[in-house]
Amino acid sequence: MSIERENQIHPIVTDLTSSLFGVTAGILGLESYNGFLLYLVLSVITTIFVYVVKVLPESLSEGRSIGDTQRFFKGALQFWSGGLASGMPGFVLTWTLFYGLVRV
């Protein structure tokens, strides 16, 4: 894996998962802050999964400490918060759709 490859994969993961989170929030019937909170929590969990499964093993084998994302990413902030904004529109779309389909 390289930085460029990772920059391609990470947005795909966030885009697809955030739309699924929208489905979740819509079916649960969450409104206003609860929905956005669910999005925030689930995105953070997804990023932790990506970190544990993909980034951590190769970082450790390179002798980096836990929590260091410099192996694939330019900064820690980019890794942990990079997908939040790009996944947001998809989340709102599917949230609205499924909220409307289930609840109204």
Binding site: L16, E31, V92, T94, Y99, G100
Partner: protein, 261 residues
């Protein structure tokens, strides 16, 4: 239950599926079409002839020397600088040395510049035409319907945007008309395109706008600017560089560090 809610419950019956589903399908297909249209319309960048390329690149050479001079020894830096400054001032790198000092030609008359503008036009067209068509299609078929309720509250200011064409004064702005579903689709369908076309697709117009902003200035060294003036300015910049090398006095620093240890 208040009166406001009642209005909503009545109007948002299951006919809203007949609005949401067509709009969503059309939006997805427009994105896919736009992707393939932009793939087909893409023209390979035209090959430049050697003098034009030399004119562009030699300017970059001066910039590179100016920003990386600390990696060179004083002697080699100065020989490079002397060569570049004299060549810049004589106009050795110019594409058309005989035109030196004349005002630059009108960029509109330059055929190579026209190509670039045509490319931009094509891209803009590929975005504008489907948008206008779909907007007028939605306005013609689905205007005035209330389709859905947003799951989050909005201020009253959004009412004019989300409920365009709905003539109900005191309905909650959370109820949205068909046109606002269209707006949601514009912003939120990126994940569908990623799923269908891969991550570097040209389907989303937002992506294209971002790419257009990130593009470096294409006019650098190109038409519209007098290359002779750019060369003169670069020669001046090079002349005032106060040279130092990272290897200056390196043996003294090495000995000092050894003495300490």
């Amino acid at each position: 239950m208040s009166d406001q809610d009642n209005i909503g419950e009545i109007s948002a019956d299951h006919y809203s599926y007949w609005i949401l589903i067509p709009i969503t399908i059309v939006m997805v297909q427009t994105g896919v079409l736009r992707h393939y249209a932009s793939v087909l319309l893409q023209t390979a960048p035209k090959k430049q002839d050697a003098p034009a390329m030399r004119e562009q690149r030699s300017l970059g050479r001066g910039v590179a020397l100016r920003s990386n001079y600390h990696a060179l020894s004083k002697k080699s830096f100065e020989s490079r600088r002397d060569y570049l400054i004299s060549a810049y001032e004589n106009g050795d790198f110019l594409k058309e040395p005989e035109k030196k000092g004349q005002p630059p030609a009108n960029p509109m008359s330059d055929p190579s510049a026209m190509d670039g503008m045509m490319g931009m036009m094509k891209n803009n067209m590929a975005m504008m035409i489907p948008n206008t068509l779909i907007m007028s299609w939605i306005n013609a078929f689905f205007s005035g319907y209330v389709t859905m309720k947003l799951p989050f509250p909005l201020t009253i200011k959004f009412k004019s945007m989300l409920q365009a064409g709905v003539q109900t004064k005191d309905m909650d702005p959370r109820w949205m008309s068909s046109i606002s579903w269209y707006f949601l689709c514009i912003f939120g369908l990126q994940f569908v395109y990623v799923f269908l076309l891969g991550s570097d697709n040209a389907a989303s117009q937002l992506n294209q706008q971002m790419q257009a902003q990130q593009m470096p200035n294409p006019m650098m060294g190109g038409p519209g600017q007098d290359p002779d003036k750019q060369f003169k300015a670069e020669a001046e910049n090079l002349a005032v560089v106060d040279h130092y090398s990272v290897l200056d006095d390196v043996e003294g620093r090495l000995l000092a560090s050894l003495n300490k240890a």
